[in-house]
Structures are given as C-alpha cells and as structure tokens.
C-alpha cells in the first residue's frame, strides 16, 4: 500500500448508520505540514469522517493507515494514542476554570518535593508551561489565570486548539474553528492554523467558509452525499470548481 508519505490515510472507508449510508468508499489523506480543508454541504459526511478518524464511530469497511501502518481506531483513546487530536465545535472548555486549568484538565501535574506528600498540584509549573505553549503558538492571552468563560470566541477557540497540542499530536482535526467568529477573531484562529502547519502537523479543518479554506489550506477535499466529490490543490483551483463539486454541478477530479 503506497501512502506517499501521508501521515494519515483512509482507503475505501465506508460507514453506515442503519439504512443511512454516511460514507461510501472514501479515500482521504493528510501529510505532515499540510492543511486539508474538508468541505461539503450539510449532511455530506464531513463530521462522520472526522468522528471516524477520532474513534467516535468505528468504520464499517476500508482501511486506515497511520504513518504507513494499518491501524484500527475504535475508541477516542485509540486515536489520541496514535497522535490524533480533535477540537470539536463546542470546544469542551470549562467556563468556570481559568486558561491554565483548562489546558491541563485531565493531565494536571503534581508537585515534587514536600507538596507531593499532600498530592499538591504544581501550579507554577503548569502556568509556566501554559505561557510557553501560548507564546510558541503566538496566541495572545494576557492573563492565563482569567476564567475562560470571560473570553472572546476567538480566544476560546485558540485555548481549545492549544489544549489539543499538549498531547503532542501529529494530526489535529478542527471542526469549524471559525464558525460564529468575527473578522479579527477569524484571522487570529487562521493564523494559529498556519502555525500548526509550520510545526509540521497534519491539519484537517472542517469549514463552510471557502475564504478560510483558500487562505490556509493546501488542499480542499469535497464530500458530497458521503462520497468524495473532489480533491483540489488550492493553488490550481478556483472557488467555482469547489462550489460546483459541493453542489454536484461538476464531477470530482482527484
């Protein structure tokens, strides 16, 4: 099986829910340092595809290869063990906790030294690492001890993405990261997506906004009615081609 150096490759993947065929014979891949925009109309299977990769829905048929090796992803834990992180649209942040607490939720660090006896959290170390992480990603959050609930949608999105990076993933999947964001906030989030790419991560981004896709993506992958309807390098395509593939007006080239 030739995966052409792809980090993650799906070959002939199908998934049905009862009588509904959500994905049919889908081939999909993402390479290191590549941003793939996943587009399609409502119900085209974008979320199903992402959830299949994230281990929420096991695929019925087809093959999944990670770094060239065939793998089985049947639970979210399988996906994160491989190095696949997913940021869902509802972000899953705790609004009553601050940035540091959210970043390290579920992987809190315990203090060494005398504090270890009382199983004390290592707040200073977590706060330092939060600063480092956010600085590396050029995320501007002035106060990492501010409650996440008090932040703007763009900042919350960036916190959620930064959090997914703490597990050192190789592939990050973003579910409509710019939905419901203003122009400036969208620019912040897209800037962050570019930095993920610069770090050599494979990024899969579901989006409804073709302007976003053209700004950050290397490839646009179109799903229509659960099938691949087009796979376009951004440099060689036009918006019309993609709209045509989404609506079914033109056929899918690969």
């Amino acid at each position: 099986m030739n995966t052409n150096g792809a980090l993650l490759a799906l070959r002939g993947v199908s998934k049905s829910f009862g009588a509904v065929q959500a994905l049919t014979d889908v081939d999909f891949e993402v390479r290191p340092g590549e941003v793939v925009a996943l587009v399609g109309d409502n119900g085209a299977g974008k979320s199903t595809l992402v959830k299949a990769i994230a281990g929420i829905h096991a695929v019925d048929d087809g093959e999944v290869l990670f770094e060239g090796q065939p793998v089985k992803i049947t639970t979210p834990a399988d996906a994160s063990a491989l190095g696949i992180a997913t940021v869902y649209q509802d972000l899953a942040l705790c609004d009553n906790l601050d940035v540091v607490e959210n970043l390290f939720l579920g992987r809190e660090e315990l203090a060494s030294g005398p504090g270890a006896i009382a199983r004390q959290l290592d707040e200073t170390d977590m706060e330092q690492r939060s600063h480092e992480l956010l600085e590396n990603l050029a995320v501007t959050i002035t106060d990492v001890r501010a409650e996440v609930g008090a932040m703007s949608g763009g900042q919350r999105q960036q916190v959620a993405i930064a959090r997914s990076l703490l597990g050192e993933p190789k592939v990050v999947m973003l579910d409509e990261p710019t939905a419901a964001l203003g122009v400036r906030q969208t620019a912040m989030v897209l800037g962050l997506v570019k930095r993920l790419k610069e770090r050599g991560l494979g990024v899969v981004m579901i989006t409804h906004n073709l302007a976003d896709a053209f700004e950050v993506a290397d490839r646009v992958y179109v799903l229509r009615l659960g099938r691949e309807a087009g796979n376009y390098p951004v440099a060689e395509t036009s918006r019309e081609d993609i709209v045509g593939a989404i609506t079914g007006a033109t056929g899918g080239q690969s």
């Binding site: 705790c94 906790l97 607490e101 579920g106 330092q128 008090a150």
Partner: protein
C-alpha cells in the same frame, strides 16, 4: 488560603476592565457586583448583623455569647462543608440532616447500649455516613436519577432508620466523657495562644512560600503590599478570636475541629487533582468527561464526602446536646446547612464556591439565630427571618450569574 486570589487581574483583555488597574475602586465594585468577592460581602454582612444585634441587646457581643455562637455553629458548619462539595458539582443532597441524625444515633446506641469504646462508636458512625453517601451517589450516577430525588428518598429512609436505631425509648442520653468532650473541651489561655502563634506562622509561611515560588519561576506574583495587608488582617483576626475565646472558657476543641476540616477540605478542593476535577464536572461535565475524567467516580466520591461530613456534624451535635432523640437531624438543620454556603457565595448552579463559605455561612445563620434567641423572639419570626435571608442570598447568587452571563461569562 481562599480560592479566589485576592488580586485576580481583569480577564483576558476582552472587556473594558482590561485597561483599568485590577486594584482600582471601579474594578473592585464591578467584581463585587458580579459576585467574585462574595467573601468580602459576607464578612461585611456578619459585621452588620453583629452591630444590629448588639444595638438591641448588649449581651450579644460578649465573650460568653460569642463562645456559645462558635459551639452552636459547629454541627451545621461541618455538614455544610460536605454540602459545598455537592453544590460545586451543581447537585444537591437533601439527606444530610437525616444522615447526621442516624449516624449520631448509631454512635450513641453502640456506645451507651452496647458499651462500645467511644472511638470505635465514632468510627463506625462516620463509616456509616460514608457508606450512605456512597450508596446515594451510586444510585444517582448508575440510574441517572436527579440527585435531589435520590436524596429526598434518602431523607425519608434515614429518618425511618433513626427511629429504628433508637428503638422503643426514642432517646439515648450520652454520658461518655470522650464523646461529650468533643464539644465540652476548652483549652487553657496559654494553649490558646500557642495555637494562635502556630496558625499565624503556618499561614505566613504558606503565603510567603507560594509568592516566592511564583516570583522565582518568573510568574506575576501578588504585590508585597497586598500580601502584607492580607497577612496582617488574618493574623489580627486569629489574635482577636483567641483573645475573645480566652476571656471566657478558652478555645473550644469543637472550633478547632471545624476549622481543621474547613482547611483540609479547602486544600483538597483547590490544590489537588480531585478538587480540580470537582470544579470541572460542576462547570461542564461533558468537557470533564472528554478530558478523560471519570465523572461518575468524582460524583460518587463527592456524595461520600457529604455523607461523611454529615455523620461528623451529627456526632458533634449529639455531643453538644448530650443526647440523641427522634428529632435529631430533623427540623431546619438540613435547610440551614444548605443555606449557609449559598449565603456565603457558593453557587447553586455548580462550579463556583469555596469551602470557607461553609464556615462563613454558618456564622451568618448562627449569628442571626443566636441574636434572635437572645432577643427572645418567637420561632415564627425566627423561621421567617432565616427564610428571608436565604431568599436574599439566592437572589444575589442568581443576579451574580446574570451579571456573568451579560459579561459573556456563562
């Protein structure tokens, strides 16, 4: 020591507060209105309540009465400590009053009728409270029944169990000095001062060490001035409390037990992984689940804490009354135990609050109740006043939540 760092800077640079200094009066007032400074609000309320009662009855602010007040709030304060954890989850436990009664009865019957050692009787009673809490937590998580229904059923069951345990006589008098000593022991003046010095030294050491650690890690640390003010205020409060208690019977063991539980469980809530997860589940259970937290395990553990603290509160209450009878743990104990933390700023909506609010809330309710007793008001008035205070506190909580939502903080 409290969960809210007193110099919490403005949030993330998104609202207009970002430009104002975190120490400006305007920021302070806004945070006050938003409910971030609930503890300051409560301490001011306590001061106001004390002034009102003192103006009506000169015996109120005497060492004797204040010592009595401390003894009166011990049982309800301890039960409230467990309630705080339940409220942090956004749940409720209506059974704690009945659990405190049945556990006190278990202790009394084993000690008095069966002649068990007081230590064993107390340990068995606490274990029973933990087991009851665990069972209720299991039913709540396993069947997805709202906690308020599970614990309402528990309330009836444990009230019945109380009657059963007490048997035909319906009252068991406690005379074991080890048990009555829990609320009847007072330390001499010199021991009181030693306790004060140790407490102040520990508080200073913890705070200075925390600041030093932050500073050496290159993180923003609270300004020395505000840290100094905090240390001086707390030291003064400890000295004043010990001075008042010493001028009557001395520092009561009961007060030390209450404060020790508050400090330990406040530490668990804010400085450990378990406590962090409790706040997370209360804030957004789905987010907590996705972060890999075993949400049901946290919930069962929290109901166990509530049951355990209810048992401990019941034991202290029985020790003070020197008896367990059919009305132990009944009446308004449950409502006061829940009202206290809410009055002192722990949210009924989950995810926000401190264990200190159990102590502060018990002070508010205890002061009102004690003052009205001194004024010899009828129970009708007492119930209505206490109910009114609770209602006012819940409205403040709801308003603070609305303020947060208006500011985009859900």
């Amino acid at each position: 020591m409290s969960a809210q760092p007193e110099a919490l800077p403005p949030a993330g640079g998104v609202d207009s507060e970002a430009e104002a200094s975190p120490f400006s009066l305007r920021t302070f007032l806004r945070r006050f209105a938003r409910g971030d400074l609930a503890e300051v609000r409560v301490i001011l309320s306590i001061a106001l309540i004390w002034l009102i009662f003192q103006s009506q009855e000169s015996r109120f602010l005497t060492a004797v009465n204040l010592t009595n007040l401390v003894l009166q709030i011990t049982a309800v304060g301890l039960i409230s400590v467990g309630i705080v954890y339940v409220l942090l989850l956004g749940e409720i436990d209506l059974s704690v009053g009945a659990v405190s009664g049945v556990c006190a009865a278990i202790m009394a019957v084993q000690n008095v009728k069966h002649g068990w050692s007081p230590y064993v009787a107390i340990a068995v009673a606490i274990a029973a409270g933990a087991a009851i809490g665990c069972a209720q937590g299991f039913l709540f998580t396993r069947f997805g029944i709202p906690s308020f229904v599970v614990t309402l059923a528990g309330l009836l069951i444990w009230q019945g169990a109380l009657l059963k345990v007490l048997g035909e006589t319906g009252t068991v008098n406690i005379s074991d000095p080890k048990i009555t000593g829990l609320t009847g022991t007072f330390y001499s003046d010199s021991v009181g001062w030693i306790i004060a010095v140790v407490a102040i030294a520990a508080f200073v050491a913890v705070n200075v060490n925390a600041r030093r650690k932050r500073a050496s890690a290159g993180l923003p640390a609270p300004p020395l001035a505000s840290l100094g003010i905090k240390l001086v205020v707390v030291a003064a409060a400890i000295i004043a409390a010990v001075a008042v208690l010493n001028s009557d019977r001395g520092v009561p063991l009961a007060a030390l037990i209450l404060v020790a539980f508050v400090i330990v469980l406040q530490y668990v809530a804010t400085r450990t992984r378990f406590g962090r997860h409790v706040y997370a589940v209360g804030g957004n259970a789905e987010a907590a689940r996705r972060a890999g937290i075993n949400v049901n395990r946290i919930r069962i553990a929290v109901f166990m804490i509530a049951g355990t603290m209810a048992a401990i509160g019941g034991i202290m209450g029985a020790s003070r009354l020197l008896a367990v009878n059919q009305s132990t743990g009944g009446s308004d104990l449950l409502l006061l135990a829940i009202a206290g933390p809410v009055i002192a700023g722990t949210s009924l909506f989950g995810g926000r609050g401190t264990v200190w609010s159990a102590l502060l809330g018990a002070m508010v309710i205890g002061s009102i109740s004690n003052g009205m007793d001194l004024l010899a008001l009828e129970s009708s008035v007492k119930f209505m006043v206490t109910g009114g205070v609770l209602l006012a506190a819940v409205i403040v909580d709801a308003l603070a939540r609305q303020q947060r939502q208006a500011a985009g903080r859900v």
